[in-house]
């Protein structure tokens, strides 16, 4: 029996005349790991900032842990933990002081604070670094400290904004373990990331946002399935002709020209339909140079829904920059 811990209904947010978030609605169930994905500038950060009360809720309703972000801002702040995208640490405070400061500004009673500090230091394995200033920690250790800090007050939801950005693969795996562990203990996780493997490994449910609107939602599996059963990459002697031929086949739901050749999305088992496809293309005199088949990945899903173009900046940044000039 689960219940919604975050409810967003018809959220809209504009910066000047730029609409960063446009009628977004979704719910996050208690206890799940929820991934919120989208290209740069899609409205991700704006949404998170509204959910964590860093930005006012302009239009629509947002309830976090049962509290309305408009009317119960303090209650929302008390019941959530936030790990920011960029490093938010006092470089000259020690690990212990960092946690103590956090517990104290959240008005934790001292005995509880001390017990929690001890617990979390063990969890993120920073026991050897207690009295080390944060500037002397490695990138991974800093991240672990920030996660521990976000958990100090036993929040019901932990917001993790790009938790493993810029970290080496070993450290990422380690951080994933912590995130899973924290979630198993009952904390709901709201995750944003640009790493699809991260979203795939961790999340129970995924929403993809682009141009301020939710464009896809589901589990990692169901999203991949919407894309098709299998994908085939083809290199041929005549891509233009092959593309036309492939498009006409009933087993192929989508064909895309890529830099190297063609990408076919299939609606049935690729192992069975591939010989048929290759045969009918070959019959028309098109040379087949190479073939590769794979299951759609979350990367494919993401690119399928959001397109391939690069996104440079968020609406909010653009807005602020414009205002400053």
């Amino acid at each position: 029996m689960s219940s919604a811990i975050i409810e967003v209904a018809d959220l809209e947010h504009s910066f000047g005349d730029v609409k960063a978030v446009d009628k977004v609605s979704f719910t996050v169930e208690e206890g799940e790991i929820f991934s919120f994905l989208g290209p740069n500038g899609a409205g991700k950060s704006t949404t998170i900032n509204v959910l964590t009360t860093q930005l006012p809720c302009q239009k629509g309703t947002v309830r976090v842990c049962g509290f309305d972000v408009r009317t119960a801002r303090q209650a929302v702040k008390k019941s959530i933990g936030v790990v920011f995208q960029d490093e938010v640490l006092d470089r000259d405070m020690t690990v212990r002081e960092t946690l103590e400061f956090h517990g104290r500004i959240y008005s934790m009673p001292k005995p509880e604070r001390l017990a929690r500090e001890k617990e979390l230091i063990e969890l993120v394995e920073l026991g050897q670094k207690l009295n080390v200033r944060t500037k002397h920690l490695s990138g991974g250790m800093k991240r672990r400290l920030e996660i521990a800090r976000g958990l100090m007050t036993r929040p019901r939801v932990l917001f993790l904004d790009e938790p493993t950005i810029g970290l080496d693969p070993q450290t990422r795996l380690k951080i994933w373990d912590y995130i899973k562990g924290i979630n198993e203990e009952g904390t709901t996780i709201f995750l944003t990331t640009h790493y699809m493997d991260e979203a795939d490994t961790l999340s129970d449910r995924i929403e993809i946002i682009d141009y301020g609107k939710i464009i896809a939602t589901g589990t990692s599996e169901s999203l991949k399935n919407t894309l098709g059963e299998d994908m085939i990459y083809l290199e041929t002697g005549d891509d233009v002709k092959a593309l036309k031929l492939a498009e006409a086949m009933s087993e192929v739901t989508e064909v895309k020209k890529t830099s190297k050749g063609l990408e076919l999305i299939l609606n049935s088992d690729g192992g069975k339909v591939m010989p048929k496809i290759l045969r009918s293309i070959g019959k028309e005199g098109v040379d087949i140079i190479s073939v590769r088949m794979k299951k759609p990945s979350l990367d494919d899903v993401f690119v399928h829904y959001t397109g391939r173009e690069m996104r440079a900046e968020s609406a909010e940044n653009a807005f602020h920059r414009r205002r400053r000039h």
């Binding site: 920011f84 006092d90 000259d92 956090h102 104290r104 500004i105 959240y106 909010e316």
Partner: protein
């Protein structure tokens, strides 16, 4: 009101004692000023003191003693004008986001930082006072023990209100302004006129009228008045000027400083209330 501002204060003080070089400079610089500038100027002025008229029966104060009050005041000024600078660091590279995301009301940051500024001023002014007395500054001359205690309490009360005023000003600016450079430029721009239009280092009685007007809205002038009143009494001459303070003058000076601190408090309070780091 919660006590979270004490946590902010705690952090301010950690940072104050943690940077040993900065701490050392903060403590030694005003002493150096008193030592070098004070003694150099004193030896100049006191050579010429024949030409400076004194009033018979009124205590004549030497220059070192006169300017010691000014150096104490200027030290408080510098410490607090630059005391909000840390917030700018916190905004760009530090934990301002964490503080603003917490349920702690943002004015706690202001109060915590304000307390930190006042404490730093107290420590520095106290040290200059002791160092000055060792160097031969003639404060509290002919005061009884009780009078001396009252005088010291009075001086620190003035320093407290003045420091709070400037730390709020600097904190408010730091929260509003985007770049380090612009705040620093603003502070430097403020420092010189504040210093030289005040009575910290010389008498303002022979200033042209326009400069006297500026001097009369300069909080530093009122702080120096307060310190001199408590340290030297209500009737003395220095550098050819006869100073007579009444209790009313001093009460007025204190009220002016209170108003100043009140205004900057509101300024900073607004800056914090609307502060956003995203």
């Amino acid at each position: 009101m919660g006590r979270e501002f004490l946590t902010v204060y705690w952090r301010e003080m950690i940072r104050f004692v943690r940077f040993k070089g900065q701490l050392f400079a903060a403590l030694v610089q005003p002493a150096l000023w008193l030592l070098l500038f004070g003694i150099a100027m004193t030896s100049n002025f006191d050579n010429n003191s024949f030409s400076m008229p004194t009033v018979p029966g009124v205590m004549a104060v030497d220059y070192l003693t006169f300017m010691a009050a000014g150096v104490m005041a200027m030290t408080a000024l510098f410490t607090c004008l630059f005391g909000g600078m840390g917030l700018l660091f916190d905004k760009n590279w530090g934990i301002m986001k964490e503080m603003l995301a917490s349920p702690m009301p943002s004015y706690h940051i202001q109060i915590g930082v304000g307390l930190g500024g006042v404490t730093k001023s107290f420590i520095q002014v106290g040290l200059i006072l002791i160092f000055g007395l060792v160097l031969g500054v003639k404060f509290f001359l002919g005061f009884s023990a009780l009078e001396t205690v009252v005088a010291i309490v009075g001086i620190f009360a003035f320093i407290m209100v003045f420091s709070a005023g400037f730390i709020f000003l600097s904190a408010g600016l730091a929260m509003r302004v985007e770049s380090m450079e612009s705040v620093q430029a603003m502070m430097t721009l403020l420092t010189l006129p504040l210093m030289f239009s005040s009575n910290a280092l010389y008498s303002t009685s022979s200033f042209p009228l326009w400069l006297q007007t500026i001097s009369s809205v300069n909080p530093l002038t009122y702080l120096v008045n307060g310190i001199r009143y408590f340290a030297l009494g209500n009737d003395f001459t220095a550098m050819g000027t006869h100073y007579e303070y009444t209790g009313g003058d001093i009460a007025l000076s204190f009220v002016v400083l209170l108003i100043f601190a009140g205004l900057t408090f509101v300024f900073a309070w607004r800056a914090f209330r609307t502060a956003k780091v995203t």
